[in-house]
Amino acid sequence: MSTIDVASTQHGGAGRIVRGLLRSPLLAALAYPHGVDRYTELVRPLLLTDGVRAEVTRVHHQTQKSVTLTLRPNENWRGFRAGQFVGVSVEVDGVRLTRPYSPAGCERSADGSLELTVSTHPEGRVSRHLRDHARAGMIVALTQAQGDFVLPEKRPGRVLLISGGSGITPVMAMLRTLCEEGFEGEIGFLNYARSSVTALYDPELRKLARDHKRLRVARGFTRARGPQLSGRFAREHLSAVISDHADAATFICGPPMLIDAVRAIWAEDGLPEPAVETFTPPALRFDTGGAAGRVSFAISGREVANSGLALLEQAEDAGLAPDHGCRMGICNTCSAHKTAGTVRNVISGGLSSAGEEQIRICVSVPVGDVVLDL
């Protein structure tokens, strides 16, 4: 199963006729050159032939530092698989900002709705905006779901879900999906939060653990004494939730420190790499001292000496304003065409080929001369 036909569950026959009409070549010709959507959206913001938008239908605050939104996407939404993320765009002070959030709900919700839990960061403009200003009726733009941090279609016999902080959301979606579909294998759910004040989904996790005999949930608080576990992730914590971690399909989402700690143990045990997702940008390290070569922006005709920073920043420093979103290599908004030169991906450390290709300029640093179509 890759997508859900939300349209068929959400809208009736009349809606289908309206959509058919809106997509007709005649209407497109009458609305030329702006397009039908640029008229319909002024009356009904969700009525689009192209593009996903959603209306916030419910807002609640599980903790002081988070907001949980229920969204009703329009008919262009193709659904998601548990573990994937969507780009959520909101306007903050006139500027449209996009951030990735993982839906936390079951991938087959009856009404096609989406649940997002957004944790605020002190510097997070979008997360703070949503916490403070999200109201029922607010419209947000969405991308289609992305990412391959997903449960395999053929469900494994044993699943281990490890998360930290706001990283609970994609594994929460996996857990809810497995529970909802009557998964009969063993599930271990290991979650870390700073303290009980910031712990998300506490009542629901207790209820799921009561209802599902083969699910074990354990939480650890890194800045307080935990209910079950104490301190940060350690090998001993595994046995609290899973009988045999070596045999479990493992999914980890959280800060780099947690991911590194789990990876180390998997490596010690000679196990294959677990599936990993992180939304906290690893502290991007730029080698500005050893930077060499020149960066040419072919379309604007500008050229600068390579400063060693990400190409997006170098372009901005050169006075360009390339499209961008997350600035952490996730959303692909900043994808630009490189016509020559090699770049290093600051997240993976990997080097690109020297030829033509699309690159994410927010996480690409030139290695010598680079030419970009910007």
């Binding site: 010709a29 009458l30 702006h34 002070d93 006139g94 500027v95 449209r96 900002l97 304003a321």
Partner: protein
């Protein structure tokens, strides 16, 4: 246009440029929700007018409906092209990150494809403003709008060509980037790039024609002739209006034109200086400025083409203060006056230069000559003399400016 040395010293030009940069930086730092709300509100008004206009024209057999519908559709096209399309395509709202307001992809309700406009206008015209031989907005390649262009008998038709261009302005603009007149004159060839541009123009014209002259008239059934006439009138009104406003931007008396040599190796300060000298403003009320796409603040627009245009009015006093301090004339006036001087220029330049009036030392008021730097004086007062001779005693801003200049220098 004789002397190549700058009027202001290089140091003055640099601080002049820095003062303007500071205005720009301040506005950029202040951009926010207010600007997005403004343009979105305007788009909503324009789309509302368009739908209302087209709706009313379906009842076009009733005279009030025809007049109302045609007026609404005319206003829609004017707003779409001027305050919305022209300004968005300058990238004035790119900072919003909203793809609907993206200057690189926006398309407008006129015959010229957005991509070609972005090249011919944003790049060619705004970079090479008023440089004779480089800025093809000087006369659009068909009119003689500068004394530096050699007169030919062809230009006897100058007023006629201008009227033709105004009537079919959207098609003139559409053919601008193809440089059709250069191809016709054998100065350029119809290479593959030009062919591709022509194909794009054809696609755009086809879409516009299909909508305005085929589909909406056919859909209206018995109202067909009324819809056809209404749509044609709306396009014509927009054409005449856009032509009028645009020709008032750089051709009224007192606007300066430049040679390529003068503008070689320009600094940023010199660039600002040229933009100021080459542009003219229009006075009017708030609605007038909006309908003019704020090109009535042509000077501010040419200094800061990528700032949201509704900000130009807010910074105009500051710009004017800086100009006065540096003794640069501020060319502004009501539409009838500015356009009147454009019309006179079109007529005057249809005729060959009269001996004794061109190339010779211009006759000017003594205070103006003393106070005004040579480069500016020779160009401006030359124009002044010619038009004054034509109209006889037509009042010019030059002496006033000269007085200000002297005060500033004192």
């Amino acid at each position: 246009m004789s002397s190549p040395e700058p009027e202001l010293t290089p140091e003055q030009l640099e601080t002049f440029g820095q003062e303007l940069d500071a205005i720009r930086a301040r506005v950029v730092g202040d951009l926010g929700g207010r600007d997005v709300d403004y343009i979105n509100r305007l788009i909503r008004v324009q789309r509302g007018l368009e739908v209302t206009g087209r709706g009313l024209l379906f009842l076009g057999f009733l005279p009030p409906a025809w007049i109302g519908g045609t007026a609404a559709l005319s206003l829609s096209k004017i707003l779409d092209n001027m305050e919305i399309g022209h300004n968005i395509m300058h990238g004035q709202y790119d900072w919003t990150g909203d793809e609907r307001l993206n200057g690189k992809t926006f398309e407008w309700d006129t015959a010229c494809p957005g991509d070609q406009w972005r090249h011919s206008h944003n790049y060619s015209h705004h970079t090479h403003t008023n440089i004779v031989g480089k800025d093809r907005d000087i006369g659009y390649g068909i009119l003689r709008m500068s004394e530096d262009e050699r007169w030919r008998p062809y230009y006897l038709g100058n007023p006629f060509y201008a009227a033709l261009l105004a009537t079919f302005f959207q098609y003139g603009v559409a053919m601008h980037d193809v440089e059709a007149e250069q191809i016709a004159a054998g100065e350029s060839t119809l290479d593959e790039e030009k062919r591709e541009k022509l194909r794009a123009v054809w696609r755009k014209v086809r879409g516009q024609t299909l909508k305005d002259y085929v589909l909406f008239p056919l859909l209206s059934g018995p109202s067909l002739p009324f819809v056809l006439a209404g749509n044609a009138t709306a396009n014509l009104t927009r054409n005449l209006w856009a032509f009028t406003i645009i020709f008032c931007g750089h051709f009224p008396d007192g606007t300066r034109q430049f040679t390529e040599e003068e503008t070689e190796n320009e600094t940023r300060g010199e660039w600002y200086y040229r933009q100021m000298l080459g542009s003219a403003n229009l006075t009017g009320g708030k609605v007038f400025h909006i309908l003019a796409g704020n090109l009535s603040y042509q000077i501010e627009h040419h200094l800061f083409p990528d700032l949201p245009a509704h900000r130009y009015g807010e910074i105009s006093d500051e710009v004017r203060e800086i100009r006065e301090r540096y003794g640069i004339p501020y060319n502004t006036g009501p539409l009838y006056k500015q356009f009147g001087s454009v019309v006179r220029k079109i007529v005057k330049l249809a005729l060959p230069p009269l001996p004794g009036l061109r190339g010779s030392e211009p006759v000017v008021d003594e205070p103006a000559r003393q106070a005004r730097p040579q480069k500016l004086a020779s160009a401006k007062t030359g124009t002044r003399k010619l038009s004054a001779a034509k109209k006889g005693g037509h009042e010019q801003p030059a002496p006033k400016v000269a007085t200000r200049k002297r005060v500033a220098a004192a």
